[in-house]
């Protein structure tokens, strides 16, 4: 059985194709103004990679903030259910999943079969989302991909009290003016973000093991900071940004079987 999961995220659209539970292909594209066109393009690219014709897809499930705009999907599911499903399939021992994307952070507690037990979402404050690191990286004149490695080099932790991404930027500018090293500033950003995210996760209740998914899961500096705040190692997939699409594709397969 071949199914697809499409995650219409705030920053990127991710498509993942599964055959009998195994990944055949995946692709992503930046979310443009014309979402329908971007989604179609990303899907075509994944189909081509997989060597599968569109008609062979038995079920497409959409998730993500833009899921309503994916009109050709057969069904939809929320990010929370998709994340939970993907996480237990990747890490059967995981019971809590933390998803940090471009514009949202969420923590989900789940059952062994991937059903959601409880969740919390941060969508009011940019200091708990990927956009925060991106903005700070720009201020520091470094590439986003370099932020993680640079943060790991920091020798000390500088506290950052900013509650708001915009004022945090002023704080970063002050640190630059006072001659603080870049690696220490980016580490401070990661620590501040991990503070926000771990507080949200504690609200939901942390059950071991904990997985981190979403695009920010690529940032080694953030992983280290969050693991430190929670006092435990985190399970992070190789391609954390595809977790939502994977969960949607798995749910698509279950729905196709049931119908």
């Amino acid at each position: 059985m071949i199914t697809a999961g499409i995650d219409g995220g705030a920053r990127a659209i991710k498509v993942l194709i599964l055959r009998d539970g195994k990944q055949l292909a995946r692709s992503s594209a930046l979310t443009g103004f014309d979402q329908q066109a971007t989604v179609t393009q990303a899907l075509e690219s994944a189909l081509q990679q997989a060597g599968v014709a569109r008609e062979e897809l038995q079920h497409i499930t959409a998730t993500g903030i833009g899921r309503k705009a994916i009109s050709f999907a057969d069904s939809e599911v929320t990010e929370m259910s998709a994340d939970a499903k993907a996480t237990v399939s990747l890490f059967p021992q995981a019971r809590t999943v933390i998803d940090v994307g471009a514009e949202e952070g969420r923590a989900i507690r789940c059952e062994p079969d991937g059903r959601v037990k409880d969740f919390a979402v941060n969508e009011k404050c940019a200091a708990g989302a990927g956009t925060f690191v991106e903005t700070m990286a720009r201020t520091l004149e470094i590439k986003l991909e370099e932020a993680g490695a640079l943060s790991l080099k920091a020798e000390k932790v500088i506290p950052m009290n900013a509650q708001c991404a915009v004022f945090a930027e002023s704080e970063v500018v002050s640190l630059i003016h006072s001659g603080t090293a870049k690696e220490e500033i980016i580490r401070a950003v990661h620590e501040a973000m991990a503070d926000r995210i771990s507080a949200m996760a504690r609200r939901v209740g942390i059950e071991r093991e904990v997985a981190l998914v979403g695009g920010v899961g690529r940032d080694a500096g953030f992983i280290k900071a969050l693991a430190g705040k929670l006092g435990m190692e985190l399970f992070v997939p190789m391609e954390p940004e595809f977790a939502g699409a994977l969960g949607a594709a798995l749910i698509a397969a279950e729905r196709a079987r049931a119908s």
């Binding site: 069904s75 259910s81 059903r115 959601v116 409880d118 969740f119 979402v121 119908s259």
Partner: protein, 381 residues
């Protein structure tokens, strides 16, 4: 079928102005549901609750702190923006700090003929509460008598009690219908009814309810009820949120907030006391309590528990007005106890405007959680 109630809800100011020109009567704005409306009816005055508008506004900034709850700021904004110029009087029955300051600011900046701060006791669980409040009600009655220029008779007090009690009985009957497996009305429709009860003359409202109730007996909605939800919180007149949630495969079957059951639950029992004012005092002290007054016991819990059980609630939305500390402090216990009953909860923080898109995803995820047994088997999402 719900058109009169919806019309009143959407055109509340037009109704009040029309009522004034029809009756030549005076209208009193009430800031809290602890207001003894019975006495106002007895004085031939029309008590109306002052509501917010869900429109962002900055006019309150010079007068109250930004960390006052959005509901109180929205209410004060209506006064400052001149939406309630038809009010002849205003009154508050001692409420939370935010509302008290909103009231005193209104007194200062939007003057009208009559204003009265009624010291309703916070110690509603104190054995001295009834005696205290009865005496305060006497003073309130005297102040009203001075304003309207005549005595309020015992007979009129009983009439005022009956108008209010009839409304409470009819609203309770309406809520009873929502216990059904397939309720004949949605939560949004119920909200139009209860909210408009505080925006109209109860005699008009009672008449409309008497016409509505028989029509509901055989009514079948053209939708499946879905998940049975309860709404718990301080104030709610957010019809947009109700509509959004109910289009996702759920129905609000009951509520515990001060537009709904906390407002109309429990009648004044005139048989219990010789003095009608004491009977009124007892009703307000014994009604399901607002958390601002509910200590040391959490006396509102048995009310919540009963509603959740009798209306067979599957999930509860905990609606928190941002910065409302009394409610937020109760939420932990309410959440824990509901979950011990097997009822899952969704906590949402509300501001003047509702972020419908963000809330939609959270409500959908909550409903997926509640339906998780079927989640992967059915395409109902």
């Amino acid at each position: 079928m719900f058109e009169p109630f919806r019309h009143w809800y959407e055109h509340r100011h037009e109704y009040a102005r029309e009522w004034k020109s029809r009756t030549s009567g005076k209208v009193v704005g009430c800031f809290c549901t602890y207001e003894p409306e019975e006495i106002l009816y007895a004085a031939e005055l029309l008590p109306l609750r002052v509501y917010g508008s869900h429109q962002p506004s900055s006019v309150t900034e010079p007068h109250v702190f930004g960390m006052y709850c959005p509901w109180t700021r929205d209410v004060l904004a209506q006064g400052l923006l001149g939406k309630y110029t038809y009010l002849n009087g205003i009154t508050i029955s001692q409420s939370c700090l935010h509302f008290r300051q909103c009231f005193t600011s209104w007194q200062k900046h939007v003057p009208c003929e009559f204003s009265y701060y009624l010291p309703m006791p916070h110690g509603i669980q104190s054995p001295h509460g009834r005696k205290f409040f009865t005496e305060e009600l006497k003073k309130f009655k005297q102040a009203l008598e001075k304003w309207v220029g005549r005595e309020i008779t015992t007979g009129e007090l009983h009439e005022g009690i009956e108008v209010m009690n009839e409304n409470r009985r009819l609203l309770t009957q309406l809520y009873e219908l929502r216990k059904a497996e397939d309720p004949p009305l949605t939560g949004q429709e119920a909200l139009w009814v209860v909210a408009s009860a505080q925006m109209t003359d109860k005699r008009d409202h009672n008449q409309a309810l008497k016409e509505l109730l028989p029509k509901l007996v055989d009514r079948k909605l053209d939708r499946e009820p879905g998940v049975r939800l309860m709404l718990i919180g301080s104030e709610n007149d957010d019809v947009e949120f109700m509509e959004m949630t109910e289009t996702l495969g759920a129905t609000f079957v009951v509520d515990e907030n001060c537009v709904g059951t906390r407002y109309f639950w429990g009648e004044v029992d005139s048989e219990r006391f010789e003095d009608p004012l004491e009977a009124i005092a007892a009703r307000y002290l014994e009604r399901p309590a607002c958390p601002a007054k509910d200590w040391p016991e959490l006396s509102r819990w048995p009310h919540i528990e009963r509603l959740a059980r009798d209306w067979r609630v599957q999930g509860a939305v905990l609606m928190q007005q941002k910065f409302c500390d009394p409610h937020e402090l109760d939420m932990f216990t309410v959440k824990k106890r509901l979950e011990e009953m097997g009822i899952r909860t969704l906590f949402l923080e509300f501001d003047v405007t509702t972020p419908v898109g963000q809330f939609r995803t959270r409500v959908e995820a909550f409903l997926e959680m509640l339906r998780s047994e079927d989640l992967f088997a059915e395409e109902l999402l």
